[in-house]
């Protein structure tokens, strides 16, 4: 089994970059590298899919389809064209769009009289891409930093409330929050999408 052979020759899969993992999937059909990509990106991919799919069961099917595409299409990834994270986002979004297209009846409506005030497709894509980058960066944080960041910023808990829920001293929560933000800033440098 390839995943065993990668251990035998001393490759630490968890330490590889996303790009290296994709190359291992493409060239060596490395199942362990694929599993590592799933661990790193399954929550971010699922979150992107859930934005457009109302149904949980269908979301699961789309995530499954997206990771099947990762396995099948890894050879098409080119490092020089962009990050693995961006490529995975495109795969997830395409899988979701394909699923919606397959279910939607084609209707031709009259053009609206007024411009739609909702964000246009480019803005929506930019927001989804940014959210994907943020979610995958949060998932890459050490557990002790990830939990305080999620509780504070995704649920709006105060630092005292976070300390209470995690049974930690307030000072520890503050330290972990700051350290988590620093790691995120490093990882998200240049990710802000402005249209």
């Amino acid at each position: 089994m390839r995943s065993q052979s990668s251990r035998l020759i001393g490759v630490d899969i968890a330490a590889l970059s996303d790009e290296d993992l994709l190359e291992r999937v493409a060239r060596e059909r490395d199942a362990e590298a694929f599993e590592q990509l799933y661990s790193r990106y399954s929550r971010a991919v699922y979150s992107v899919v859930r934005r457009s799919q109302a149904d949980h069961g269908r979301s699961e099917d789309v995530v499954q389809e997206a990771f099947t595409s990762v396995w099948r299409s890894a050879r098409g990834y080119r490092r020089e064209r962009g990050s693995a994270s961006g490529w995975l986002f495109a795969i997830a979004r395409n899988a979701s769009a394909d699923s919606l297209r397959a279910r939607r009846a084609v209707t031709v409506a009259d053009p609206p009289d007024q411009a739609d005030p909702a964000p246009g497709p480019d803005q929506r894509t930019a927001a989804e891409l940014e959210a994907f980058a943020v979610h995958s960066a949060v998932d890459a944080l050490p557990q002790r930093e990830r939990e305080v960041i999620e509780l504070a910023y995704f649920f709006g808990l105060s630092q005292s409330e976070v300390a209470d829920r995690l049974s930690l001293p307030l000072g520890t929560v503050k330290t972990r929050t700051r350290s988590g933000l620093a790691h995120l800033a490093e990882r998200l440098a240049g990710e802000r999408v402005v249209l």
Binding site: F34, V63, W71, V134, F154, L181
Partner: protein
């Protein structure tokens, strides 16, 4: 750009992104099987086939468990089920961003499976937990399953209910350590 400005920008991005949704645990194996083909997957244990008598005893125990007990369930996965109904729940004012879907499966003998998918519900405070309730007509509410969410606000909790049990109300409460109870999710 100084640290504070950078941190402020990261904080803004975090708030704009919103909570991460956690996929059910069983999806990992399903995605791997779908991508690599089931033939490539090493099965650590052969599937266990139960003898009919043992299965009936276990089903009876499951009925009792579903109606009388609650279990703490965190991130339980399972195989895909044939879904007969979806029940959509939305957040009460104290948990406005939260939502949940209950997939009610087809009856399997005396019981039917229920899978509760919760999103964006903050983990319960220390010593507290969440509980799913169902009520039939004027009967007493039945606690179906107790659970907590992860730091991303998600969980998939699985339980069973008697196949012939109906329900007219369905909701999720936060059960506090001091005995206080408040509704956090109700039928949308």
């Amino acid at each position: 750009m100084n640290d504070e400005t950078t941190f402020n920008e990261v904080e803004e991005m975090l708030r704009a992104a919103g909570p991460i949704e956690t996929p059910p645990a069983h999806l990992r194996a399903a995605a791997r099987d779908a991508a690599l083909g089931a033939g490539d997957v090493v099965r650590l244990r052969p599937p266990v086939r139960m003898d009919g008598r043992v299965a009936r005893v276990l089903l009876a125990a499951a009925v009792l468990t579903a109606s009388a007990l609650t279990a703490l369930v965190i991130g339980v996965g399972g195989s895909r089920l044939t879904i007969e109904h979806h029940i959509n729940l939305s957040g009460a004012p104290s948990a406005a961003a939260a939502s949940a879907v209950i997939d009610v499966g087809a009856a399997d003998g005396a019981v039917r499976p229920l899978v509760l998918h919760v999103s964006r519900l903050a983990p319960a405070p220390k010593g507290a937990y969440y509980e799913l309730w169902m009520q039939t007509g004027a009967g007493d509410p039945t606690g179906m399953v107790a659970f907590n969410t992860d730091s991303g606000g998600g969980v998939v909790a699985q339980t069973t209910m008697p196949a012939d049990m109906g329900w007219s109300r369905c909701w999720v409460t936060l059960e506090s350590a001091d005995g206080h109870r408040s509704t956090v999710l109700r039928v949308a």
